[in-house]
Every structure is written in C-alpha cells, then in structure tokens.
C-alpha cells in the first residue's frame, strides 16, 4: 500500500498527513482531530486517544482499489463513474459529485495491490486508523473467479468506520448477475456498513434493473454514493446553486417588480385571471426565494 499516515501533534489537535511512498513530495492533509483528553504528563496512549467518533473531521475520501492486472479496468471505471480523465495519479482532489439534490466534493484515492490479504493486513493496522476514519467508501475491483473477496470482508469490516460503504465490483464477464445477487443475499446482515457486490463489465451491456426495480452495475454504485451519509461534509443544495445562478436580478428590482405586480393584481377585475396572474408571479418569485 502506498499511502502512509503520519501524525503531527500541535496543541490540542493532531494533524494527520499522508505521504505517498512513490511520490515522496506529495503531502495530503487527511484531517484535524481533537484529542479526547488534554495533554497531561507524558504522552501516554490513554491521553492520546483520538476522539474519532466526534464529528470533527470530514469523511470525504473514496478509495478505488484493484489488483495490478485490473488497472486498465480501474481506469475505465474511474472514467465512467467519476469522469476522471487523469488516472495516473494516486490522489485526485476535490472531485465534484452532483445529483438532483446536492453537490459535494471528495478526494479520490487510487491504489492497487498484488496480494489483497497482505494489503488488508496493512490497512487494518492501528497506524492506518486515521486513514480508515476519513474514508467515505471503498470501491474494490475484483475478479470473483480468482478470489473470494467476501471471505476477507470480516477482517475488513472489523476495522473500517461504521459509516464507510464498501462496494465490491466484479469485472469477470463469466460471472452472472444471479451469482452476485446470491452474494448480496448471503452477506452477513450483522455489519452496520453498506456492503454490496456489483457486477460490471464495460463491453457487456448489463440489464439496468433487477426484479425489484433496483439499479444494477455502475448505476447502483452511483446510487450508493448519492445516498451515502456524508459525515461532516459540505453539501450544497442544488436549489441554492440555482438561486445563485438566477441572482442576476438585483433586490431593488425584485421589490419594484413585486410592487407593480401587486398593483396590477388589485386592479384586475376578473378574479380567475387575477389568481392565475398571482400564481404565475409566485412561480417566478420562487426562483428568487
């Protein structure tokens, strides 16, 4: 794993940095954590417990992980899902995500492994805890014929943050959707995290919905990201964005228009026409409210 985590203690906070081994100069601030207890005496472990559950840090990183041999497929997935054109880097900052309700941004962490158990072993270590805690989600690209990632889930799940979603994307064309559905049905329901197995091959068009009308493939991954509970992240409502776009009319002008509309409304003799006019004005005004 190329992402290492370093701590820098400063007053009552710990600043956490990650440095990519293969890009030594790259420094990424993962977050600022309030220390649960103030520094008293020696830096004993008890005193340096981080209040990870405290709503202090934004959970705004998504890790996209694959085997070395699946790097090309990973690039395709990044393009299809996140519209990323540059995939040669390990970290893509401020990736914008937008749906019909909100707009947010997160960082994409891209990594690959040779041996998944070894990677997970390293990922679940204590020193990676700050990294795990800022992970909104992990997208793991796998070949279900070569490995059974569901067996590694238990080890994975005991260490990741309860709000982190995990999506296991199968890229083997031979795996049928029924097999993936079975995996989803059989997965242990005791986990609090969102865990889903997805079937995806770019060249093979998949059916968009299953028997329940649920989305499949990358559409489902998109839905998981959409419905994710973005902890401590800024979600900009789309209506607000639209408001900003339509704010080319000054406030004085809006009030003038309102006053003239009011006069016109009162002067209208036909009540039906007046009501229709009022509704039209209300619709126009709602864009500025």
């Amino acid at each position: 794993m190329c992402v290492n985590v370093y701590f820098l203690c400063h007053f009552k906070f710990v600043h956490i940095y990650s440095i990519c081994e293969n890009r030594g100069e790259k420094r990424e601030v993962l977050g600022r954590y309030r220390i649960a207890q103030p520094f008293q005496g020696s830096m004993h472990a008890k005193n340096t417990k981080l209040a990870m559950n405290a709503p202090e840090y934004p959970q705004n990183k998504i890790l996209v992980l694959s085997h070395h041999s699946h790097n090309f497929l990973k690039t395709q997935l990044l393009q299809d899902l996140f519209h990323c054109s540059t995939t040669s880097v390990s970290i893509i900052k401020d990736q914008t995500w937008e749906n019909k309700y909100y707009k947010t941004s997160f960082d994409l962490y891209i990594d690959s492994f040779k041996d998944l158990p070894v990677w997970i072993e390293e990922f679940v270590t204590l020193e990676c805890e700050p990294l795990r805690n800022v992970m909104a989600g992990i997208i793991l690209i796998t070949d279900n014929r070569l490995m059974a990632p569901q067996e590694l889930l238990t080890q994975f799940m005991t260490s990741v943050h309860p709000n982190t979603f995990i999506v296991l994307v199968n890229v083997n064309k031979e795996v049928e959707q029924e097999e993936i559905d079975e995996l989803n049905e059989n997965r242990c329901s005791s986990f609090t995290n969102v865990i889903e197995f997805i079937n995806w091959t770019r060249s093979k068009p998949t059916i968009n919905h299953n028997e329940y009308g649920e989305k499949l493939g990358l559409d489902r991954v998109q839905e998981i990201i959409d419905t994710h509970d973005w902890l401590n992240c800024k979600l900009q409502p789309i209506t607000m964005i639209m408001d900003k776009k339509s704010k080319d009319m000054p406030l004085e002008q809006i009030i003038k228009n309102l006053q003239s509309a009011r006069i016109k409304y009162k002067s209208m003799e036909n009540s039906n026409e007046a009501d229709a006019f009022a509704e039209e004005i209300a619709e126009q005004l709602s864009e500025f409210l």
Binding site: K100, E185, S190, E214, E223, T227, A282, S286
Partner: protein, 156 residues
C-alpha cells in the same frame, strides 16, 4: 377494516428512512421492534413469504428497489393481502408525485412522504383515502398553499 400498527421504511443496508407509529408504544418498544425486524426481514430470501408473525401481531413487508416497506398489522382485524395493496398504493402515489421515486427522493423530501402517508392513512392506522388522485390533489393543494404563503410573506 384496516388497523395498522406501524409502518417502517428501511433501506437494503438497514438504514431507517421513515417511521410512523399508529399505536401508542414506549420508546423502548419501538426500538425493539426496529432492532428485531430490520435484520429479520433483510435476511429473508426473495421467494419467501411476505407475511411473518412477530410478537403478538403480524408483519407484512414488500421490497421495492433497495427499500423495504414494513407494516405491522393487527392479526384478527387486518387483511394481509389488503396491507400489501396499501403498500403498493403508497409507492404508486410517491412514484407519481416524484416521478419514478428513488431512495434519494425520500431522503431529501421526507416531509412530503409523510404528507402523502398522512393523507392515505389516519392516525389510528385505518385507511383514510384510497384514491391516488385524491391524495395527490391534497398534497398539491398543500404545496400551493405553502408557495402562496411564501408569496404573501414577500408581498407583506
């Protein structure tokens, strides 16, 4: 005669999206029902029966996309198949209101979802209105009144 006890809307991941209680229950009883039913229903296979017995009553559930609609019914009073129809009518109404409703619509418009539900089912758990057209009309009227309130606030 329908006398629902509660309606819970749970995502496939066990996240509660909506809760409505039609009988008086303590907070601990409510928590127990949610805690017991969520894993039980999520673990059920697609071809299993949609009606299960739980505690002193029956539970009817139906899955739509990634959402499970769970309804507690009174055993001797309610018809389970009719309850399935009530769930379906609720989904249909939401579908028409939002235009192909999805989980995200329910998360960001939960107040509207409660409005639709309140128009369909009374506070004692009996059906108030079965007509989708009527329910939608009432909700649209509420939307218009809200919009007019905003207009009046600006004009005043």
């Amino acid at each position: 005669m329908t006398q629902l006890k509660y309606l819970i809307l749970v995502s496939r991941q066990g996240k509660i999206r909506l809760k409505k209680w039609y009988t008086a229950m303590s907070a601990s009883e409510k928590a127990k029902i949610v805690k017991d039913l969520t894993p039980t229903i999520l673990a059920r296979k697609p071809k299993m029966c949609n009606i299960i017995e739980y505690s002193d009553h029956k539970v009817v559930y139906k899955r739509y996309a990634s959402l499970f609609f769970i309804v507690g019914v009174t055993s001797d009073v309610d018809n389970e198949l009719l309850t399935l129809e009530v769930i379906h009518r609720f989904v249909e109404t939401m579908d028409t209101y939002f235009g192909n409703v999805c989980e995200l619509d329910i998360i960001f418009n939960f107040n509207k979802v409660y409005d639709i539900l309140n128009e369909m089912i009374m506070c004692d758990g009996s059906i108030a209105e079965s007509s989708r057209k009527e329910v939608l009309h009432h909700v649209t009227v509420m939307d218009t009144m809200e919009s007019n309130d905003n207009l009046e606030r600006v004009l005043s």
